[in-house]
Symmetry: C2
Subunit: 449 residues, 2 copies
């Protein structure tokens, strides 16, 4: 397919910004400027901006300009389930799986993903890693939204809504890869749901497939619950990480989500295999499942990105909501203020998140030659001041609503809070309509229980 | 002093609202209406609103209308320290105490408290319990802002900025009580800093004074750190709660903030004494200090309110920022989704918070005869939808910026995000100016260390 889009022929020049580059030296330019040509950052610096004929010049009024955020684990289609049956311990088997089997269609995934894309853009996320069913729909939504994305077709053995068996599931993966292999922003991916829900034999099949498709990222839930640990011990007399390794799936750049139930040997295995990790602090905390050992993983040399999980589990898809939890959890584990300083949280949300998705050469920091993926964060709100450190302000005081502008590959996705690529009102209305159907079904379930 | 203000002669009628009353039955009216006359809610209900000549009618367009939130522990003056020296373990002794001794004046407390008042109003808080120095300034700011407040003059032995010794401190308390004893919204309070920083003899003196002033609430930090536990054990061979009890301070409606380091005997003592508790989840989590046993305290019959702590520790003063932490912490302690359901979090933020401050007959729920303290929460944002449960939406998806209107005792403090009683821009500017001075002093400290 031809994904070419007309490129803005004009140079864009952002001036009078407090630029957090998130490069290796954590360079800041204040006041600073950024020059964007086509899809790319061509220059940036402090002081007087260059004089360019016919450039579109945007005075940022002292606001923060920083890399767009990288949400490294999401289930966009699940936004229609946001907060459903909160606080109910058996909600997965009582409501979610029955609702998914009955109602999850390509259409529902498109509606949920569109609402998710609106929220991601409005919340400052410019890159998202997703895994769900009917994933070609998610890819289409991300293409339309203008988001950079890794879209993973999920494979699982519990009769999921889009594949009765793994052969059908693999066919869906192939279809997705065929459709999106040349897309400039959307990368197709294969996503075994989890070791216990894929099984060792199929994990081996996926590992083989993956060897033949080295450019297709693999995403998987790993070590998410004590039930998974028990499954691995009972069926293979090993840790779930060891089962994954022996199946051939624990390989460089495997994107492992959750990673709560790990011992030292697991972390060593993961480090030797050079996998990447995603922590989902709100989702894990809300489920009472535990706290991921983020500091230990990072100290073992593993890049750790931050994910929202789906809105059913984490409720919101921006990363601001995750910052205080990821930070507090590390400090509570360490019993001190010192672990995981605010600047490292912002690293995880940007350049380290991009590294987690093997996109760090393209995005995650503001540097000449990289793609122009950036956001502007307004400093107008009194609650942000005074600012002793911009990273602390972003982690503990800023809100997704402070993001006013969002750009991916040189294209504005949002300006002055106006989403340019999607219709937020229609997206919300469509999701509410699906929820009405879910509510009726939940009443039916409650009456028959 | 005469605190009388002109009362709005017109009836105000809010219509077409999704009313969460937070009464004992958790009654909702959707669509509902509320009638306000003078300072008071005179009627409310579902369906067709009453026809009242000359009423100001406000169509809420389906938005949530709920009780204004009760922030049960704050240090408003400290907003000028927001996020200062984040992640630095010894910041209290290295920066904060030296800065407080050198710079904390009545003027600085006024500036910090004004910024805090703006943030509280913008974030949906209508009642705040504060403790700090030069507290008459805080009272003046709350009076001007129109907030309902309990303002506690702090007493401590570490050479705090406004009293060289306890006699001077008590004189400040008397001055505050004299000035504000008849204020309709602002209640003067006495606030021993903590057992270890007050000492048993002075705690006894405060307990005696308190017996003579039964209408003056007592606020204190209690069982906040392992250092405090060690102090009590070393100096009195008791728990810090037992020291407080034996000094005569553990009495009905004592407002105890933090309460992290408690054993079962402590909780029994607190329950027998019928004290009230405030949890400050963000502040405690960020300091790596631990998690308050909120469920155990509530199961022991103690009302537990939610506090922001000062912006130096908790960074923001709204309660939305505290909801996910307070909820996640309870679920993590319980290892399940079930502990502390979302509705209980909203109870704690409203009626239970009011009970914590002994203000529950006046505020904390929307009922005929109660003061008209309420907020309107916009449902315009796509990230809030779909809504399966309004309490879950408020706890896990809503943001302080969703609050559009705030009313205390029938007076609008904010309409359509416009603060009516203070100047947010000037408040922010004044705080930034003080921070510039702090930054210079911190550089000096760093150079001499």
């Amino acid at each position: 397919m031809d994904w070419a889009r007309p490129v803005n022929p004009m140079t864009t020049l952002l001036t009078n910004a407090w630029i957090l580059t998130l490069d290796d030296e954590l360079t800041q330019h204040d006041p600073g400027w950024i020059q964007i040509d086509g899809t790319t950052i061509t220059a940036l610096g402090s002081g007087t901006p260059p004089s360019i004929t016919n450039a579109e010049i945007i005075d940022c009024g002292g606001d923060i300009v920083m890399p767009g955020m990288v949400n490294t684990h999401c289930h966009m289609g699940m936004s229609v389930f946001r907060g459903l049956a909160e606080d109910v311990d058996d909600r997965l088997y009582r409501y979610i799986l029955p609702l998914e089997r009955k109602f999850v269609t390509a259409e529902m995934v498109r509606v949920g993903s569109t609402l998710a894309a609106v929220e991601l853009i409005q919340g400052g996320v410019t890159t998202v890693a997703d895994m769900y069913y009917f994933e070609t729909e998610v890819a289409d939504v991300c293409d339309r939204a203008g988001l950079r994305a890794i879209v993973g077709q999920t494979l699982a053995d519990f009769d999921p809504p889009d594949h009765k068996n793994f052969d059908v599931g693999f066919a869906r993966v192939e279809q997705l890869v065929d459709a999106y292999r040349d897309h400039p922003l959307v990368t197709p991916s294969i996503a075994p749901h989890a070791p216990y829900s894929t099984g060792r034999a199929v994990m081996e099949r996926i590992a083989l497939w993956s060897s033949d498709h080295p450019n297709v990222p693999v995403q998987m839930h790993l070590a998410e619950s004590t039930l998974e640990v028990e499954w691995a011990l009972k069926t293979h007399n090993q840790s779930t990480v060891a089962v994954t390794r022996d199946a051939g799936l624990l390989k460089p750049n495997l994107i492992c989500a959750h990673c709560l139930q790990l011992d030292d040997a697991d972390i060593t295995m993961m480090s030797e295999a050079q996998v990447c990790v995603v922590t989902n602090p709100r989702s894990n905390g809300k489920a009472g499942r535990g706290i991921a050992p983020v500091e230990r993983l990072r100290n073992a040399g593993l890049p750790v990105g931050i994910g929202s999980d789906g809105a059913m589990s984490g409720n919101t898809l921006d990363l601001f909501s995750q910052f205080a939890p990821v930070s507090m959890f590390a400090k509570l584990l360490g019993g001190s203020r010192k672990p995981l300083p605010a600047v490292d949280v912002i690293r995880m949300a940007t350049i380290e998140g991009a590294r987690t998705l093997s996109l760090n050469l393209k995005t995650g920091s503001l540097e000449a030659g990289k793609q122009a993926d950036l956001i502007r964060v307004s400093l107008a709100a009194p609650r942000l001041h005074p600012i002793y450190d911009p990273y602390s302000m972003l982690v503990f005081a800023a809100l997704p609503t402070d993001v006013t502008h969002s750009m991916v590959a040189g294209r504005w996705l949002m300006r002055d809070r106006h989403v340019e690529t999607l219709d937020p009102v229609q997206a919300t209305r469509d999701a509410i309509q699906i929820a009405t159907m879910f509510k009726a079904e939940m009443q039916r379930i409650d009456q028959t229980h």
